[in-house]
Symmetry: C2
Subunit: 416 residues, 2 copies
């Protein structure tokens, strides 16, 4: 029997349950699926069409970016360091009105996919408008993605009549369901302050009827609650629960301004969270209580958010920042340790977006979303612990090879 690919001689960091690490590890791949993983010796007699020598490299699952707005790379670094309302109203919204069209959406989504692949990201979860063109870019790039068509109660790119917002999203999901195993359509309700309660409830019902992920920005800024009609004395999370929006198929993005009771609601409803520390820091939104959520067992993934508020799509720097931010915020060097942080960027991220049976760890039966990280560079030497190395020292540019679904998309740090 001949396999397609054997990756051998690498330090294998699986991110599977119990976090097994194999010093001289190997991964066997057949038809895009992980057919086995273990020691190099174990597979030395196996035949493979391609053998990849991972000597001096870490073999690990590709990173998962749980929150992106791919087309927004066109606005990278547009008008930084401004108050949020000035940034949005005087710069981002006018720029979007002027420059967002189907072609620019596809062009810059493709650009973002290139950036992410080069940085070791093999899966992303996106939400924007003209999402059919985001989907086209994603499919052309070869990355794995959840793509959510935006729903908002204002005229939006491609959806001039807000009354059509949910219908458009449903059509998008139907158009792309089953088109490719790499693409999972979704519905992305912008936020509780830009969608009415009625829209939230109806969009969530549509997502559940279609069996797709429901994404929503939640409690990103301190003042957001003042913008929500009919909130009354409820918190935003209580409001979302009362609107029937929270369940295990909902991804709550940001979740910065939430209290202990909100966290308990998130735990009980089994909703998931996407944590975007760099965006929350750069926009001065606040610090999400992520260590507490993780302690409660809530699946939390890591996201970069759009390029306009980061300004890149680099999960290596995002991990480093996340780990350090929570330590200093809580004055506790033990929180958000390297293992927890790397889990957030891999297997927990996969759980958060509902793809953990497919990706997020290197395990037999999962799809082969795998990256090799060079551990021989000066800033990676010495390496006493691979998790520390990957979170605190590794850089996006150390990514040497990127494989999605068994297909090599980046080799020697360059797009194939």
């Amino acid at each position: 029997m001949e396999y397609d690919i054997l990756i051998e001689n690498g330090l294998l960091v699986t991110m599977a349950e119990g976090l097994p690490v194999v010093e001289d590890g190997a991964v066997l791949i057949l038809k895009g699926e992980i057919a086995g993983c273990g020691t190099t010796e174990e597979f030395s007699e196996h035949k493979a069409k391609t053998r990849i020598n991972a000597h001096g490299k870490i073999i690990m699952p590709g990173l998962i970016n749980c929150h992106t707005h791919l087309p927004m790379s066109m606005f990278r670094g547009l008008a930084d360091d401004l108050p949020l309302d000035v940034w949005l109203n005087d710069h981002v919204f006018p720029a979007e009105a002027k420059h967002v069209n189907p072609d620019s959406v596809e062009k810059w989504s493709r650009h973002s996919c290139t950036e992410m692949l080069l940085a070791g990201t093999t899966t992303c979860c996106d939400g924007y408008f003209h999402e059919d063109r985001v989907a086209a870019a994603v499919l052309a790039s070869g990355i794995r993605a959840v793509a959510g068509q935006g729903v908002i109660d204002f005229p939006a790119p491609g959806v001039p009549d807000p009354k059509m917002n949910i219908k458009t999203a449903v059509e998008f999901v139907n158009q792309f369901k089953g088109v490719s195993p790499l693409l999972t359509p979704s519905i992305f309700c912008h936020s509780p302050y830009t969608c009415s309660r009625q829209t939230l409830t109806a969009a969530k019902k549509a997502a559940n009827d279609l069996g797709v992920l429901f994404q929503i920005h939640v409690a990103e800024t301190k003042n957001e609650k003042n913008l929500i009609q009919g909130l009354g004395s409820m918190t935003i999370v209580e409001y979302l629960e009362s609107a029937g929006v929270l369940d295990s198929n909902t991804l709550m993005v940001h979740s910065v301004w939430i209290n202990d009771n909100d966290m308990d609601i998130i735990r009980k409803t089994r909703a998931r969270v996407a944590h975007c520390p760099e965006s929350n820091m750069k926009l001065a939104s606040g610090i999400a209580p992520i260590p507490k959520l993780i302690k409660l067992g809530v699946p939390v993934g890591l996201g970069t958010d759009g390029c306009a508020s980061n300004n890149d799509q680099d999960l290596f720097s995002e991990m480093d920042m996340a780990a350090k931010l929570h330590k200093v915020a809580l004055l506790d060097p033990c929180v958000m340790d390297a293992r927890t942080t790397l889990r957030m960027a891999t297997i927990e991220g996969a759980k958060a977006i509902g793809l953990d049976s497919v990706t997020g760890s290197i395990e037999k039966g999962k799809r082969a979303d795998i990256i090799l990280v060079d551990r021989a560079r000066p800033h990676m030497t010495p390496m006493y612990d691979p998790y520390s190395g990957l979170v605190y020292s590794a850089k996006a540019a150390d990514v040497d090879l990127v494989m999605v679904d068994g297909r090599v998309l980046v080799r020697d740090g360059k797009l194939v």
Copy 2:
């Protein structure tokens, strides 16, 4: 007349007063000195032995790392995510006792210099023991450095008898004064909690008599004040002032736990500050009030601190982290803007360590410490503003060419 080097066709970010930027810029170099800078057209007729085409690249001053412990790269990632006392007492101190010797100090200092040069750092300010061997590594690497021999009231590597600590430091300074224009010797008093008031005063007097920079860790952790004998009701900064330690030739490293009155003392005494955000975050020490210090006019430079608490020596990630940290800490997206942050890593850093007449900006008459940063990579595109691009998007690996004192040490991202 023939010049040595002409760098042309690049986006020139000078970091000189007023922050002039030249779209199609050029820099002329003769005998390691910047002989002129302006537009490419301006110098097109000038003869030069070497012409460097900076098309698609940013030409900027090399970055200045204001606080390092170069030999500590040997402990990179040793025992992370632990309480500070466990980390220090059970891991770092025993490891230092076992592994720090003159040869390991030189070997790993050399390693750190390589790491820093590849990441676009052209000057560093170091403090450790066996500093003569750090100096040897620095001289061999070609980087510019301030090197401070450690003074501490405990037996230390190379200084088994603490009574000899100041004498050893003075001897070090005398040994290396005038040896190379790239190396500036200094005295590094470890901290007010590891040095007596008498030691502090005597070491500072020695530094001033020798005309060299006096470096000291100050108010890094919340509990540090409890460890200082004879502090009484004084703050640490008041104590240092009363010991005669603060003047324009003193670099206060960290300065996390300082109050408004302390900041006013720093301003009045004209002392300087080295800010190490990643180390302060990773060790959960706290957030230094840097935006306030800058507003007061205090020269503040950026430092990585030693590799054991970072875990790299990368000022690009340090800038990104610094800018974002202070925004979220103050819930103000306008503080620590990209220009301020880049100044901290260049010209303000040069001021902080007393080398601003030599380096820190691209200006006629300064030494040619210059780097080229690739602006064509996906994560650097588009670029509406070079400061935003350099602080929020650029990575160490984007550094293409590094020149110190007119000598090219890194080319095509690789050590020459």
